[in-house]
Amino acid sequence: MIAVEGVVKRFGAQTVLDGVSLAVAPGEVVTILGSSGSGKSTLIRCINGLERLDGGRITVDGLDVADPRQLAQARRLSATVFQLFNLYPHMTVLRNVTLAPEVVLKRPRAEVEAEAQALLASVGLAGKADAYPAQLSGGQRQRVGICRALAMNPRYLLLDEVTSALDPEMTAEVLAILGRLAGRQMGDGGTTMLFVTHEVEFARRISTRIVFLDQGRLIVDLPTARFFADDGGLAHPRIRQFLSKMAPSNTVAGAEVTV
């Protein structure tokens, strides 16, 4: 379980996370929605230990990320997929995927490579193992980013706007993979996902729960169906406003949504 308890994060005088609490249990697919600047990325960066907390506590399966030793352990349990892919440009696609399992988990190379090849094949990149990131399209790069994360066999997958740097076609191909992953993992104690996305429809389709961040405060935390109910999440003016801006045609006030 990822447990975020009363987390405060400031940048200078600006309080970016203002007492955020959130629990993600194994098997859940939780989506974080919120407008730009509400602190979504910062929250993810606090969970994977890239930011130092100014208050509160975050634990991953009981490991406190504020403690360097426990953070090192916690980082083996979760893996992050980044908005801008953050691949290692000097390494081949295969090496990008195998590096962490080999170096961090100290697993034998042959075994890791076989797994990586299978992962790449599963996202349609079988022929690209020896290419360098610069030789791939954005969608292909993000698929490598997903394989790199999955190669760690993480209990928790953290995804921060992983499609927002992609055009619609590439977005669709990456979301298809994530949808498959979510569908396969949901409820079976496998990879649990914490998503940040602006793809509201996608979130609605794959999430078990949706939380809404507003100016550093987590104002709503509801099961997906309740979140989109008139007397649930949509009762909040901020959320209505947000959804009408995101996808004006089909998300407001319980309108029928085609998935």
């Binding site: 980082r75 893996a79 691949l87 440009p89 000097h90």
Partner: protein, 223 residues
């Protein structure tokens, strides 16, 4: 005026001098490479006390003439320790430290040029800071640094000629001796110059090949 012709012995003298120059260059460049990159890693980790001290020292070395450094070591150190210092040792010490200073600034720039985002990614996957340096930063910093390092190498090779001043029997010193004996400066210094040129050119060619290998990932699409 008495002219002496060139003999086989002269060839041997030049070859020996070239050997000393190349050996001195290779040895001090290697040591400088190790020390300079080491110092850059120390700076990367912001090691308290050590990192600013190294930075200040290397800055001093980079911004003063090698000849002055050479004199300081060759004449200054013996005066301090009350023991003579062999010319070759003084030369080795000076050139190693001087190379380290230039390598340091090249390596620092190389490390700084690597994108922070990959480093963050690696950290979230559980790499230690040292593992990040080894697998992510160093290879890319090296790729950024090869071109300036090759330039530095060519320059440091030429700079070795300064050590003839304190009596090291390098290529320049051999030319000097030959010149005094034959009194044919134009022929002698042309020959010496050509040998330096050949060595420098070889270095550049090797460096370019190395650079192509390190930059393989940035090669144009081959799809």
């Amino acid at each position: 005026m008495r002219h002496a012709g060139f003999t086989w012995h002269d060839g041997a003298l030049l070859a020996q001098g070239l050997g000393v120059s190349l050996g001195l260059f290779a040895g001090t460049f290697l040591i400088g490479l190790v020390l300079g990159s080491g110092a850059a890693v120390v700076r990367h980790f912001r090691v308290p006390a050590l990192s600013p001290i190294l930075h200040a020292g290397l800055e001093l070395l980079r911004n003063s003439p090698v000849l002055v450094q050479l004199f300081l070591v060759f004449f200054g150190i013996p005066a301090l320790i009350h023991q003579p210092l062999a010319p070759l040792s003084a030369a080795g010490l000076t050139l190693s430290a001087n190379t380290a200073a230039f390598v340091y600034f090249i390596a620092v720039a190389g490390l700084d040029a690597v994108g922070r985002d990959q480093v963050e990614a690696a950290r979230t996957f559980g790499f230690t800071r040292m593992q990040v340096v080894r697998h992510i930063l160093a290879p890319q910093a090296a790729a950024f640094a090869v071109a300036p390092l090759v330039g530095l190498a060519v320059n440091q090779l030429q700079v070795t000629s300064l050590v003839s001043v304190i009596g090291v029997m390098d290529l320049t010193k051999a030319g000097d001796i030959l010149n005094l004996r034959t009194l044919r400066p134009f022929a002698v210094w042309t020959m010496v110059g050509a040998l330096y040129f050949a060595a420098a050119k070889t270095l550049t060619l090797l460096g370019n090949r190395w650079e192509r290998r390190l930059r393989a990932h940035a090669a144009p699409l081959e799809l």
